[in-house]
């Protein structure tokens, strides 16, 4: 691995980690509002996937969207402002945490309804094909999506029409508050789509290098118009389903157990072992991320709340 690629992945994961931890604090301080779902612990998936996409590729995310947005290149100030409901937010404060959109960076929509984003990605892939482009569409979803009817309908159509779409499942083992085993007898999402016979791979979702490599293979194939593909990333949601979730339904990981799993620490250990990461680089990356996130918080705090008229102004496109 080239030095800069590993560093870039680390930088992205640190930005997501620090941003989301800060969001957690701001939820408790009542500065960030509403239903907030953090992806702390799952940063490798966003970093391993989004960094390889162009701004004209379509990315669709779920209710747990901050990481995908950051890894897609969404600027942190407007992102934080959106979570605070400010006029300077990505969506002028009309979307919120679960409905992030940044067309400029290809983020065409996070959705708060589980599974509702999957067919949208197929549509963007279809548009790329009919308009003659080589863009691909990527949709992120959790393992909880897979038990919904819209998932089966969409997978069937994606396969039937061979759409250049890459389905990226973040299988963290929990659908909201319930372990996967209580919702289905099929353990792996890769097995759910097996009858359609398209290319799929299940990887360690805390190993950003593995994710990056598997996604690169699918992406190259999708670029020439092939598809669909499924990348299943087995990962771990370190925090609750939402901020404030008491998590009575599961045992917390022991600290040393998490040290082994943490995708950031793992890549840093690899970097040290392979010699492309200095001893003091992790602290520096974390510090850079903290400074950037603090600047984003300050930027967002300075943005005013939107004018009340905005609510009725943007119902219809002119």
């Amino acid at each position: 691995m080239a030095d800069h690629a590993g560093l870039e992945l680390l930088r992205t994961m640190w930005r997501i980690r620090v941003f989301e931890e800060r969001v957690g604090q701001l939820v408790r301080a009542d500065e960030v509002h509403g239903l907030v779902h953090l992806s702390v612990g799952q940063e490798a998936v966003a970093a391993g996937v989004c960094g390889q996409l162009g701004d004209d590729d379509a990315v669709y995310s779920s209710h747990r969207a901050h990481g995908h947005a950051i890894a897609s290149g969404v600027p942190l100030g407007p992102l934080m402002a959106e979570l605070m409901g400010r006029d300077g937010g990505l969506c002028r404060g009309l979307g919120g945490s679960m409905h992030l959109v940044d067309v400029e960076h290809g983020l065409l929509g996070a959705t708060g309804v589980v599974g509702g984003n999957v067919p949208l990605a197929l549509g963007s892939a279809l548009a790329a094909r009919l308009l003659g482009g080589d863009q691909v569409a990527v949709v992120f979803f959790g393992d909880g999506t897979v038990q919904g009817g819209i998932f089966a309908e969409s997978v069937n159509l994606a396969a039937l029409w061979r759409l250049p779409v890459i389905l990226v499942c973040e299988n963290n083992g929990f659908a909201e508050f319930t372990p996967r085993s209580a919702h289905t007898t099929v353990e792996r999402v890769g097995d759910v789509v097996a009858p359609w016979h398209f290319d799929r791979e299940t990887v360690d979702g805390n190993d950003v290098i593995a994710i990056r490599a598997a996604f690169a293979r699918f992406l190259a194939d999708a670029r020439v118009g092939n598809g669909p593909f499924l990348l299943e990333c087995l990962t771990h949601r370190l925090r609750g389903h939402y901020e404030g979730d008491p998590q009575h339904y599961r045992e917390a990981l022991a600290a040393e157990e998490w040290q082994e799993l943490d995708p950031i620490l793992r890549l840093q250990r690899l970097g040290h072992a392979e010699g492309w990461l200095d001893e003091d680089a992790p602290a520096r990356l974390e510090e850079e991320a903290r400074a950037e996130v603090e600047a984003a918080v300050e930027w967002a705090r300075k943005s005013p709340f939107p004018p009340k008229e905005l609510t009725t102004e943007l119902v219809y496109a002119p």
Binding site: H99, G109, V113, E153, Y316
Partner: protein, 320 residues
Amino acid sequence: MTTYLEAITTTLAAAMRADPRVLVIGEDVAEGGPWGATAGLAEEFGAERVRNTPISEAAICGIAIGAAQSGLRPVVEIMFVDFVTLALDQLVNQAAKAHFMSGGQLTVPLVLRTQGGAGQRGGAQHSQSLEAWLTHVPGLKVAMPSTAADAAGLLTTAIADPNPVVFVENKTLYFRDEEVPAEQEPVPFGRARLVRSGRDVTVVALSRLVHESLAAAEELAAEGIEVEVIDPRTLVPLDLEAIVESVSRTHRLVVAHEAVRHGGFGAEIVALAQEAAFDQLDAPIGRVGAPFAPVPFSPPLEDAYLPGRAEVAAAVRGLV
């Protein structure tokens, strides 16, 4: 002469010729669909732009929304409005809100064509009139043409609109023969059509009930009651001004639709009309609609259930 159905087909074909971004998606659309609304399109435009789908209403609708967000102008067909239930998450939570929730970044230029109405012994799951649900969702526009000319003109406008439009046709109107102008102009949304002038009572009627109200008006004219019939053509946006203007001359109002009266769109028209023109009204506003029951299958029961000319005439007589 042309039919409502032919007007739909020729308008779709014209839109596809004019704009390569327009495509048609739905169940059996390449074969023309159950009535032939899309007949011949696959032959002219090919299978990429006239896309047959499995029976997956939610995914069809979602794909169309994604395609619209990414630069296409899809026209989705949902074979019966009864099946729009299966696509409501996509329509209500995604299409209707995308422009708003993105702070204006996204647009969804999508047309969802469907058809409703009873009268063909279809039973309770193939005969409904569900337009009122859709008018309740900010972000959607709802068109409901009653004639071939309006079907063509409104569909042209719908395809050009940057917002999601639900286009509700009526199965019993599909094969009516009508004169239409050779050069069909687009019909703007939010502009009602004055179907018949009259001095005594205004009847605001939707879809099939426009024709029933006209028939009632002829019957009432023989009794010396002159009825004005107005077809709003689009429910969202609604041409309230035209309704208020008419009521300020007739001072009496009846609203008529086939949908269940309870919670029907007529209730909204009544509320808006009394807010805007209470002082003009000389009588309570009459409402014609179906009873609060599913559409029965048995032919005599279905015939009795359906509001029509007699119900409109009775409502008018009750006001004068």
